[in-house]
Symmetry: C2
Subunit: 271 residues, 2 copies
């Protein structure tokens, strides 16, 4: 019957966009979401710290008997997925590999752009995966640290954001890039801005959508789809109760979130 | 002789500007600095979380036998100072009270502006202190969440920062504000931008300078100035080793920082 929930985690609220895609593509699945709102953002932190935080969250999700884990955060996927996958005996999928596959399929010029947090870009994990998929691909990367704060300040359609986008993305034009991976959960909210900067022809790859697709394929292949037909439950946990989580959840999710529980995540240091 | 160090802490690197002022005004004092680089920023988090993190840091500083604690972060000063002061038997000073005193002294129009993080502004602690100092003062406050990310991205002299400053600060002109508290350690770096926006006549109050002055007065009044005449030691601890800390420290401090140690700060939950 496989009624155990799928655990989804993120450094904060951004992973709710991945959750939304999972709800759309897998409406029969129970979900447990954890947002690390007390320690957000991850994008400027070291690999060691991102692994420690991701491990604590994994330990917490295991107490919820999850049957699979989705790392909905690009930074944690880039830096902690391998370490997490080694520690648990359930499937773990991140957003980077599905995003890389979609980008490799989308490009004709074989020039792919990747934007993300400083930590994601520094990790070079998109480069590694894309070259694994096709060694002929040229990968051009750029960290865009101001994009997430601009989105969080509500400036998704604004001359300031356009100005910053021009500076961050200008060099992609020189490389004849025809596919751009939006390698941070906040960036799809800037799709209009990015299209204004780079033109309509560039394909914007949103790993959230691709990840939900990969998750579905994985659940089918492992024969762990929830086939019970019973009422579905979605649970939300955070490390800090912030107004932002509730308002973002209400904006992004198809269902209203009536209960969000706070977890002292630091307590999950040991398994 | 009072050779015990002074403990200084901040959510990250910003408190180093306060440390610099302490070094200038109190060159004979030993210092232990802690920057919570793994969990930065505090400005968007809840009071409960800021108190928990500040308590852990205080517990850590106590293991270093500090004779006094300076909370160099506006957000932690605004939300956690009272709670910390209750838990320890050494003097604790924050940046808010000294900043409020200086602003109350600087204003002639009795209209004072305060800018800071969302959490600092929401706490209304500057309003409370300023009204305590003079009930006739009108306090106009504004959260400026993009200022710190803009400074961290190096855009201290930039048309984008000017544009954002115009939006954040515009309303201060309507209130005949003649003194503005720079209520976040990053903001003094935007003094030029703020002067361009609000004119040369407005007095910009930097709590870092005022805090070092208050600290000196307190050490004198409690008779705990270091009078040993021995070589001075400055120690630096962080919760995450980030490139940013080292580069910011090198830019801000008069001495080069040759050793920075990482502390697992979550372990200091209990005293």
């Amino acid at each position: 019957m496989n009624q155990e929930p799928i655990g989804v985690f993120d450094s904060g609220v951004g992973g709710l966009t991945v959750t939304r895609e999972i709800m759309r593509q897998l409406p029969e699945e129970n979900l447990v979401y954890f947002g690390d709102t007390a320690r957000v953002p991850y994008g400027s932190k070291s690999k060691q710290t991102i692994i420690r935080y991701s491990t604590q969250i994994t330990n917490f999700l295991k107490t919820k008997n999850v049957k699979a884990i989705v790392i909905a955060c690009n930074t944690a996927s880039a830096l902690a997925l391998e370490s997490i996958a080694e520690k648990v005996d359930i499937p773990v999928i991140g957003v980077v590999w599905p995003g890389a596959i979609a980008a490799a399929e989308a490009t004709k010029t074989k020039n792919i752009g990747v934007i993300g947090t400083a930590a994601t870009i520094k990790s070079k994990v998109y480069n590694r995966y894309l070259h694994q998929l096709n060694p002929e691909i040229t990968v051009v990367t750029k960290a865009c640290p101001l994009f997430a704060p601009l989105v969080e300040e509500g400036l998704v359609e604004d001359r300031v954001t356009d100005d910053i986008a021009n500076r961050y993305l200008g060099e992609f034009k020189d490389y004849n890039v025809d596919a751009l991976v939006l390698g941070c959960t906040h960036y799809p909210l800037l799709s209009n801005t990015i299209r204004r900067t780079l033109g309509d022809k560039i394909k914007l790859v949103n790993p959230a959508y691709e990840t939900a697709k990969s998750l579905k394929e994985m659940l089918i292949s492992k024969k762990i789809l929830n086939t019970s037909g019973e009422e579905v439950h979605h649970e939300y946990y955070v490390s800090d109760m912030t107004d932002q989580f509730t308002s973002f959840a209400d904006r992004v999710l198809p269902f209203s979130v009536d209960k969000i529980r706070v977890v002292n995540i630091e307590k999950y240091e040991q398994e």
